[in-house]
Symmetry: D3
Subunit: 165 residues, 6 copies
């Protein structure tokens, strides 16, 4: 466990990051290209990880990306990202994307995803990051779910290794 | 279970799809932007899903994206994608990205990922797809791992639901 | 003066919108391309205008864009935009861009700009927007400066017309 | 006042620079994205400034961007830029964008803008540029309007400073 | 042979079209990506063809693209395009790209290419275009070389057909 | 003639490289932008040339690009490239692009083109490449046509020189 003082979730979070959809964001079915949304999440999650760790960070893994509903032309996407939990040098960052109709204020849930970043020191070796301090009820819930997800990932990996024995 | 005749993996697979890295593919650490690689995988996986199902398909989920090593300037990326398994209207497509040094022929493993696509009929409703026929030993292994991954995902989702009461 | 009820500045503002600079954002002098920053401001200001007016909006004018300092590779840009004042169908939106060093938290002032948007009805004709309610001291100061800027613009336009007689 | 010999406007001007609009230039209202037009003007104005000064130049300010009419799909944009006046190390460059219907030859006025660039020496410090020699009646008119705009800008800045006391 | 009145070369030509090279224009060897230059030539040649014919035009063929020298970072590319000759509904447009050092005014020859466009009527069928009137000595030389190139292309095509029996 | 051992065509070829068309690939007539297709061919041909020669390569020329039919929205482009022949340090690479309807498996011929690349040593000087070993009937046919095309190019160049004598 890192000896560094903890940092609250809010110190690195990104809230309601706005992206106005344009025609060149569309895929061949004329909904917003999901790959573009994933790429934007990754680029934003990098900022969360580097703010929290104060180190260069790299994406190690992405899990449980769920596309709930397609985003459409003229939607305004809202990206919300925050650090859920850290383990040594690695951090889980949750991303939630919504589509806002800017005329009515209505929003729809578009995508959820969980990114794992690793912090690196100046020699490119993993370096411990400060623990996260969850402060709100939602932050505590996410802090706990992160551990369940992590255990699920490790267990699935083991089962696949054994099956391929 | 779909009554449609099965299709072999090879009928829809993408093999050694080449992408020469250029400076505008770089992130702020001067390695290839991971979000761009994910987005390309998604765009290629769409072709695999639509070839197999002969229907319009949409990305439903992405799992277990692992970044093994950074890709660098002057690398040639090789994208390999194939259908691992299907369940009703949904299909798991595995992606494996390598970086080739085109001068020496050497390759390094960059990324693995698993995409779930759903096939839609002309009214936008899920429609059953043909079963996949795995033919090689690797294809059989991936067919079986897909089921383990799927069960792991469902189990983790249940555990998180229960934890959040 | 519009009869519509006023809306507070905060209801449409964009705060600390994050953009991680990548190598493909650079100009020929290897600082961040100013045109890209202006274009992003315009795309964000559109969201502010459409949120405030609940109408389709178009950029009518941009004034007093000042580049204070160049942004560099690896900076994280922070975009702050808010509605300063409205006159009938037109709205002045102020934009302030800072560059954050995500490792240290330090920020530098990069750019200020003032956008004028016009709200349109379903026939493409200008339509009155709600008055803005400035609530903080900064918002009141910006509300008043907006009027001075507007008068300055009109006076300069007149002087140039007269000079070109 | 610079001792350097003057240069005529024509030596650095850009005339009827052509840009064929494609679908990926559109905004969410399916007219040409204004931010893209501003960014192109900035990139072209840089060439005018560097040709005139024979030095590396940077954008210092942009003023009085007026969008006269939206550009549409299939339009051909025509960009016209020329140096209006210089003061020490700074130069005002006027930009005028028109939309041409290439089938009929008709043009519409889309946008006007005024860019201020500063020339830098090899240490990044401002360096005096040659005076501009206006030769045509239009060039003389623009030379004079540039001074009025500059005085208007300074006066407005003063008034805002005093108001914010 | 078209009965339409001829049009001079200058009525559709593009002269010294400026493009400032930025880092995201580079290929993996850090010179300007040739594919980008070809694509820009094609987009500009379309304007020349549509101006001359007053019809929708499509690229039919490209020949004799020669890369003379690589363009580098900080170069300003200059694109020159003009209509060399027409035959019924088809037109040969010559493109010549130079790289300007905007500080010294020096230019280098980068690329030459010849595009063949076809004009289409409102039903998408080829339609005759006005003859070109070459006025300068260079334009006459290009008018004549165009015929030699065309004959060479047809002869080579015949020889390959015969060889493949 | 190079003393290096020959390499079979298959060792460097690119087969059925997939590209799913998106709306931002369209030109002003809403078919796929031909310049984008040429640029992709160039980027892929570079990989073929560098694989064959094991050296840094540059595009020297492009010939006989023929657009057979427009590609449309929702098409999947298939790029096929292979080395036809080499002469000293230069190589002809043939490109053939088809459009696949991924739902039906149908394909249409979109474009053919011939790229000439030159291999460079570490000082940027041309260096001999291995001879190509054509193995299939099609590869032999292309090997022979390459020589005819080359002679045609040289003859046309001579004729134009003499005409401009």
């Amino acid at each position: 466990m890192s000896e560094k003082p903890g940092k609250p979730v809010a110190a690195s979070a990104i809230d309601k990051h706005v992206y106005k959809v344009f025609p060149n964001d569309m895929n061949s079915h004329n909904t917003v290209f999901g790959g573009m949304i994933m790429a934007k999440c990754d680029r934003l999650a990098l900022v969360v990880a580097e703010r929290h760790s104060a180190h260069v960070c790299v994406t190690a893994a992405v899990d449980s990306i769920h596309f709930r509903a397609p985003a459409k032309g003229n939607d305004t996407l809202l990206f919300n990202l925050s650090l859920n939990r850290s383990w040594g040098s690695s951090m889980e960052i949750g991303a939630r994307v919504e589509a806002e109709n800017s005329y009515t204020g209505e929003t729809r849930h578009i995508l959820s995803a969980f990114f794992t970043f690793v912090a690196l020191d100046e020699n490119g070796r993993p370096v411990d990051v400060p623990p996260v301090i969850p402060e709100t009820r939602d932050q505590v819930r996410r802090f706990e779910s992160a551990e369940i997800r992590r255990e699920g990932r490790l267990r699935t990996r083991d089962e696949i290794s054994r099956a391929n024995g």
